[in-house]
Symmetry: C2
Subunit: 213 residues, 2 copies
Amino acid sequence: MQIAILLYDGFTALDAVGPYEILSRIPGAEVVFTAARPGPVRTDMTSLALTADAALGEVTAPDLLLVPGGPGTADVLADRSTLDWIRRVDETTTWTTSVCSGSLLLAAAGLLTGRRATSHWICLDDLPALGAVPTPERVVLDGKYATAAGVSAGIDLALHLTGRLAGDETAEAIQLVVEYDPQPPYSTGSVTTAPAPLVTALRASNLIVGAAA
Amino acid sequence: MQIAILLYDGFTALDAVGPYEILSRIPGAEVVFTAARPGPVRTDMTSLALTADAALGEVTAPDLLLVPGGPGTADVLADRSTLDWIRRVDETTTWTTSVCSGSLLLAAAGLLTGRRATSHWICLDDLPALGAVPTPERVVLDGKYATAAGVSAGIDLALHLTGRLAGDETAEAIQLVVEYDPQPPYSTGSVTTAPAPLVTALRASNLIVGAAA
């Protein structure tokens, strides 16, 4: 089973690495990081680069596609060749998935038309213009399309997918391997639990460099 | 404020990237990934490399040191030059921290003698031989030393550290930015909640390539 994770300048690291840490541990999984050009690809915070080992053209038939989000999404929305690649490989995937604003790219590729999808909370309102039905849940499955909310939600998404791909027992084992027993020190991880003034302040700030245009 | 994240062959990606995603968003933080040799450093699962932008010798006085874990820990335990570097930069850090089996490296460097520390559940029993007091909690703070349990626990650790470094309001905001409102699909993330046969099977398996020797 080949799992392709798309990289592009300005993606958010955890969007890609959270799911990677889970999915790469599925027995028989082969993960390939791919980008327009192979080599190091800088994240949104610029102090980290992940290596893309394959050019997009070398990845033609992954079983699972994962598209992370990040501020770089804005540029990829205007990059026809990458959107074409997403659309082309989707023709034969078993699962086409995204984290954070990555769902805007799936939608822009025409894959989420009329489908329920989620995204980073600050991007949810951008989905309808791209044809998708915004659904403010942490993980949304609609057919073979699976989308996750912002950044850290990719870990939950990947565990759900692992259950579907390899069975609950394997997913349960991997959850223990990565000791995923989260204990967030604050209750501000969601717009439904964070204080309204914090949400308003973040909408107006530049702290969310991970948000799409 | 300089934050140094140590990379070495066979580290676990999420150990480093989970904290990075939080800590790099602290206003004024400058993160540097560092390794014995600059360039791409392969993770335990081998299908991903993160770029180390600086050699260890170029990073002399970080304010915060973070040491990830992974199966590569076993080799670093025998690598005197890296342990010497950890000990040297610790002399001036404000915080010296680890995720997963990274605490074995701090202990081997002599920094956790008599101190409470945690680690991946499969490595906890290795701490006493290195002088530390194993403490099966998700995040353990003892003086300026902060250790996290396995892999995903680095996210919780980093939010705690952010609260100490930049105040609760900043940490709360970053938690919302990365939408850290975890909803694990299974309850197997901890040895205290996972079925005993699963824990036993994993101890005997090779599924935990993230465990130290």
